[in-house]
Every structure is written in C-alpha cells, then in structure tokens.
C-alpha cells in the first residue's frame, strides 16, 4: 500500500476492538448506501412529477414514500434473463463491478464530525479514482450483452468518462491547490478558516471558485450519465443502452449505482465547495469546540449529519431540476462541450487559483 494512503482523523467508529470497529463501519456504510439513494430517488420522483404538473407516486405508503421499497421487491421477484449469446460471466459480474466502487466511495466521505469510515490523506484522489471504476462495469455490461444497442451504450459511456473525467479532476485539483490537502475532512476544515483576502469574512470555496463549482457540477452529472448527459442510455436512440438486456435484480443494481453515484457526487461537491457539514460560512455547529467542526458532542454530530444530508439533497435536487428542464445533448455536442469548453475553462480556473494562492 502506498505509504501516503494512511488514515488521519479519528472516526467515531474507531474502537479498540478492530473487528468490531470494521463491522460497525461496514454496516454504517451499507446502511447509508441503501437508504440515502432511496430517499434521493423518492425526491427525484416527486420533484420530477411536480415540475411536470403531476403528483408522482401516491399509493405505496403515505404520499408514495414506500414506492421505491415496492420497486425493490418487484425487481427481486422478476425473472433474471441472460441472453443466449451473452458472455455469461462478464454479463453477470458487470452490475457488481459497477455497484461495488459506488459503495467503496462512501468509505472516505465525511458525513459529519467524525462520521467517516476512514479519513485518508489522499481521500479526494481515492474517491475520484474509485468512482471512475463504475464505468468499467458499464462497459462490461455493454460488451457482454451481445446486443448492438448495449454495445453502443457501453462505448458511449467510456467516451463520456474519458471526456468528463478531465474537467472533473482539474476542477477538483484547483480546490486541492487552494486547500493544500487532498484529505476531505481537511478540505472542510480549510474552508472553515478561509477568509476573503484582507477581511475576516469566512467564505466557502464556491465563492472564489464559482467557475470550478459549475465545471465540477456539470462534469459530475456527465460522469453519472444523468440527463441531459444520458447518452449511454438514450432511450430514444438505444432502447436502454447498456441496460437493455438486464432485468430483475441486476437492473436494480445498475439503478442503485446511479442513485448512489448521485449521493456520493453530491457529497463530494458539498465537501469541496459548500463547506461540508458547516451550517453556514463562519457559523459553528452548536455543541462543537474550537472552529466548530471537529471535537463535537452528540448534538453537534447529529446536526452535522443533518446539514450534510440536507446539502446532498439540495444538490441532488439541482441534478433532477436540470434533468427535467433540459433535453438530452447529441453525442458530438457532448464531446465538444467537454473538450472545447469545460477542459480549457478548468485549466484557466486552475491557473487562476494557483496564481492567487502564490501571490496572495
């Protein structure tokens, strides 16, 4: 293991008993991964519906709150179809290859003071690297389905990953330059102490790096293949892209990957640009000592978790809002937008931040 991939901050789940500690962390991550995306999914159902003058799910549970649980049961009951011509092993593994990196990203995300499984020195690097793995599962699924629509969908996903990984990482690099660390909790801490030059007004990185925030947000949506960047699925052109041949629980795993990705990307954006679990710039969490970010009591931990989840929901809502509002881009428009617009802009953003960091 790389010597720099070491844990820094103390997690709340770090007990003397190593086995128990790991068990608690794994269960906590799984709980977050299987609950929060469902809440986001329900929010998406409802937000989309109301933006389209509909009501959305209303029958399963009060106001349809249990709709996604019902959907999960439905997927579990469905027949698991594997096409005769499919490469069976690759076909069967693809949803897992897509899903597992989505879970692993949650290991480093700080959901509040001490609410992380492991606080890596290279946390941001780890999150972006592991997150990109999901596309491998998509490519595998597209190839193994032995279906032209699936294959085109998979190839599009690969092309999209290559195009948008660059602006995503360049925008994140600017944050790393400004914060001076790749540790996610450290970035949150750096934002809590970041002042506008010459004043004592605390601001988050979204203010000096509004351009970077916009680039990261757009690139994140493209990475997740969310509309208006859902060319790998493009149901009007490719049936359902790489998911065409999938059914039942495997299809559900791809869907869960997408919604889990929305949660982890939203969490990363709020950590990088929106001050993490900080309520507002310069406002300490109640019950916390010092700068009001670490060393908190039970109330502070719960508050921090709530603030973080609120920010995740808000950012997910922005993604849904964009999805409802904008039509899908054409494949060439997608590529042009990345290579001719976002990458140059992110380079400019990185240069400005670097110069500012050195000069000021």
């Amino acid at each position: 293991m790389n010597s720099e991939l070491i844990s820094l901050g103390e997690s709340l789940a770090d007990f003397d008993n190593f086995g128990l500690s790991v068990l608690v962390k794994v269960l906590a991550i799984l709980a977050v991964f299987f609950v929060v995306p469902l809440v986001v999914g329900y929010m998406e159902h409802k937000a989309m519906a109301h933006q389209q003058s509909r009501l959305g799910p209303m029958e399963a549970g009060p106001h349809g709150t249990l709709q996604l649980v019902a959907d999960g049961i439905k997927f579990a009951q469905k027949e698991d179809i594997i096409p005769t011509a499919a490469d069976k092993w690759v076909f069967a593994m693809a949803p897992g290859v897509a899903l597992v990196p989505g879970i692993l990203v949650f290991a480093v995300i700080p959901f509040g003071p001490g609410l992380w499984a492991i606080d890596l020195e290279l946390g941001l690097f780890y999150a972006l690297a592991i997150g990109s793995f999901s596309t491998l599962g998509v490519l595998m699924g597209g190839w193994a389905s032995a279906n032209k629509f699936s294959l085109i969908g998979g190839i599009r996903a690969a092309a999209q990953l290559i195009a948008y990984e660059l602006p995503l990482i360049l925008a994140a690099a600017a944050v790393v330059v400004q914060a001076g660390t790749m540790n996610l909790a450290g970035i949150v801490g750096a934002q809590a102490t970041f002042m506008i030059e010459g004043t004592s007004i605390n601001v988050w990185y979204v203010f000096p790096q509004a351009l970077g925030f916009a680039i990261f947000f757009i690139a994140a949506m493209a990475e997740l293949a969310r509309p208006p960047f859902d060319m790998p699925i493009a149901d009007s052109e490719l049936v359902f892209g790489y998911m065409t041949e999938y059914s039942g629980i495997k299809f559900a795993m791809f869907l869960l990957t997408e919604y889990g990705g929305m949660v982890s990307m939203s969490a990363l954006i709020s950590v990088l640009y929106l001050g993490g679990w900080q309520i507002a710039p310069g406002v300490a969490l109640p019950g916390c000592a010092g700068a009001g970010l670490f060393d908190c009591g039970a109330l502070g931990v719960v508050m921090g978790l709530g603030v973080m989840l609120g920010k995740i929901m808000f950012l997910s809502f922005l993604m849904v809002w964009a999805r409802v509002t904008y039509p899908r881009l054409r494949e060439d428009q997608l590529q042009k937008m990345s290579w001719l617009v976002l990458i140059p802009l992110s380079l400019v953003n990185l240069a400005i931040v670097a110069v500012g960091k050195v000069v000021l």
């Binding site: 937000a47 109301h50 933006q51 003058s53 509909r54 009501l55 809002w321 509002t325 904008y326």
Partner: protein
C-alpha cells in the same frame, strides 16, 4: 439580444414555476372526475322505443351491434281492421371492445332508443365481458340526462300540442253546453221536469262522454266464432280468418242494430258506415246480404226449378261471387255458390220464358 445562457435559466424558471403550482392530476378512484353532464361515456338503450329497424346495426362502422328479433301478430286496433305484425326485440347487444364511440348509432336511431349515457365505469378484466346485453344497456338508459329544454318561443312538440288542443276544445264545449243550458233554464220553463232535465244537462258533458264510451265498447272488435271456425276448417291462415271473422261479427252486429231500429231496408248501408267507417265497402256489401239470403232460401221451395235442365257450360254469377267474396267466404265456396246462383237464374229465366210461351 439576451445574455448567453439566459434561455437556460428561463427553462429552469419554467420547471420551478410548475413545481410550485398545484399538480393537474386528478386522483381518480379517490376523487370523482368532474365530467360534463352529457359526457359520452357509454351507449344506452331505451328498450321500449326500439322497433328493430336495424338502422343502428347497419350504420355501425365497427359492426359491434347485435340485434335479434321475432315477429308477433297484434290484433287490429279497430273493429274490422287488419291485424298487424310487429317486430319484438329479443336481443340487443353492443360489443364495447369493438365500439369506437363514434355515436353514429345514436344519431341514426329514428325512435330515440339509443342515447349517450355519462356512465364510464364498465371496465372488465376479460375483453369478452365488454359485450353488454339488453338489461345492462337498459340500466344505463336510466342515467341519461333529460333532453335539453326547448328554446324560448319554440313550437311545442306535436304530441303535446295535439293533446293540449283536445283538452282545450273539451273544456270550451263543456262551457258552451253549460251556458246554453243556463239560457234554457232562464227562460220560463214549460214544466219543472224540463227545467230539471236542462239543469242536469248543464251539469256537464259527462253523460255525453259516457254515451260515447258506450258506443266504443259496442264497437270493440269481437270475433264471430262460427265464421272463424269455418274459415280455419277451410284451411285459411289464422290472420285472414281472424280478420274475416271480425268483419262477420261487425255485419251481424249491424244487422241486429238495424232490426232494433225497425228493419228499414234503405238505412243499413249508412248505419253500417257509421258503425265502422273504416270498412264502408264491406258494410255496403253486407247490407243486401240479408235479403239475398232470404230470397235464396225462398226460391228452392218452388218445385219447377228442378224440372228444368240446363245445357252448355256452367258460368259464374259474377254479382253473387263478388258479394260472397266481400262477405269473406272462401273463394271455393263463393265460386260454387255463384255457379249455383247462375244455374238457378238461368233456369228461372227459362221457366219465365217458357211460362211466357
């Protein structure tokens, strides 16, 4: 010239605005839809109005209307009239899995038997169950809203106008009769009894109406069983036998009436025409029937006829034949009787000639 990206923000504004407005969704099973009163939900059948004219089934572009019927004979409504055949509806079904709700059947129905009903909840789990039969179609007819009110100043429907006219005329007649009676009563009455009679008449046209009803009852058609049996025995159709038996009954009745009035020979035709204006020809033909029959009964009593022998082909006495046919006698009987009459007449002629010689 708008700033670049303004359209993107405008789009976000549109979706946000719609999100904050109430949804257009109607939660149907929980909330009843607010439909127009004449919503075209389903086609209802007013079974009583259907005459099985088949226009709807023929016009239906989907051929989704199924009609079965049989014919029934209905006795003539009036004395001496002809019995009518009528179509009786056995089955009327609409297959709503084929129906495209064009409403042509409703438009084309000349008897207002088909209507649009606002009912729409008749979904079925099996497509075959969408074939709805008469009872269901009739139930829907009860849900049809009443026809829209007439425009102000519009003519009344013909049936209503006729009934109103009749009622008004009756009231006026009654008023006039009353007024006349009062005038009579006001004059110095010859006797108290006459005044009392006038007052009784003034009390209303009721006695008159009652008398009219009596006449109706008298005129009510009955069948002359003898004639009927005879005709049936001759192999005539039931319908024809019935109508002829009725005619025979009418003739007998008239003969009785005439006898009661004094047996005038000239009057019967008119009286018969009065009693049954629908069949004056029959009545006229019937009037001389009685004297002719009498004559026929008397003549064979003369012994001389049998003595006379007739040569050559026997002919038919056309007058007798026509009369008998008009009386409703079968053609065979009429022909033989007419022949007998001709033979009789010829013989009489020969006797008369012989007598003259």
């Amino acid at each position: 010239m708008t700033a670049p990206g303004a359209g993107l923000l405008k789009g976000l504004g549109v979706t946000l605005k719609h999100m904050l407005k109430p949804a257009a969704t109607q939660q149907y099973p929980h909330v009843r839809p607010d439909l127009a009163p004449r919503t075209r939900g389903v086609i209802a059948l007013m079974t009583e109005n259907c005459t099985v004219c088949m226009l709807c089934a023929r016009e239906c572009p989907d051929w989704c209307i199924y009609i079965d019927s049989h014919k029934e004979t209905v006795p003539a409504a009036k004395e001496g009239g002809r019995a009518r055949t009528r179509n009786m509806l056995d089955r009327f079904a609409i297959d709503f899995s084929l129906c495209m709700y064009c409403g042509i059947c409703v438009e084309v129905c000349p008897f207002d038997a088909l209507h649009w009903s606002p009912e729409f909840e008749y979904a079925e789990y099996r497509i075959g169950n969408l074939l709805h039969e008469m009872p269901r179609l009739r139930e829907w007819a009860d849900t049809v809203p009443p026809p829209p009110a007439l425009d102000e100043g519009a003519d009344l429907p013909k049936e209503v106008a006729d009934a109103l006219d009749k009622a008004t005329a009756a009231i006026e007649a009654a008023d006039q009769a009353k007024a006349a009676a009062e005038v009579e009563a006001a004059k110095p009455a010859a006797t108290p009894a006459a005044a009392a009679a006038a007052a009784a008449a003034a009390d209303g046209g009721a006695p008159r109406a009652k008398r009219a009803a009596d006449i109706d009852i008298e005129v009510a058609v009955e069948i002359d069983q003898e004639t009927y049996d005879q005709l049936i025995a001759e192999g005539k159709s039931e319908r024809m036998a019935r109508s002829k038996a009725k005619a025979a009954f009418v003739r007998k009745k008239k003969a009785e009436m005439l006898a009661a009035e004094g047996g005038g020979e000239a009057a019967p035709a008119d009286a018969a025409a009065l009693a049954d204006p629908a069949a004056p020809a029959e009545a006229e033909a019937a009037a001389p029937a009685a004297p002719a029959a009498e004559a026929a009964a008397v003549e064979p009593a003369r012994p001389r006829l049998a003595d006379v022998e007739l040569e050559g082909e026997v002919q038919i006495d056309q007058a007798t034949y026509d009369r008998l046919i008009a009386e409703g006698t079968s053609e065979r009987v009429a022909r033989s009787k007419a022949k007998a009459a001709w033979v009789k007449a010829e013989k009489q002629k020969m006797i008369d000639e012989g007598g003259a010689e």
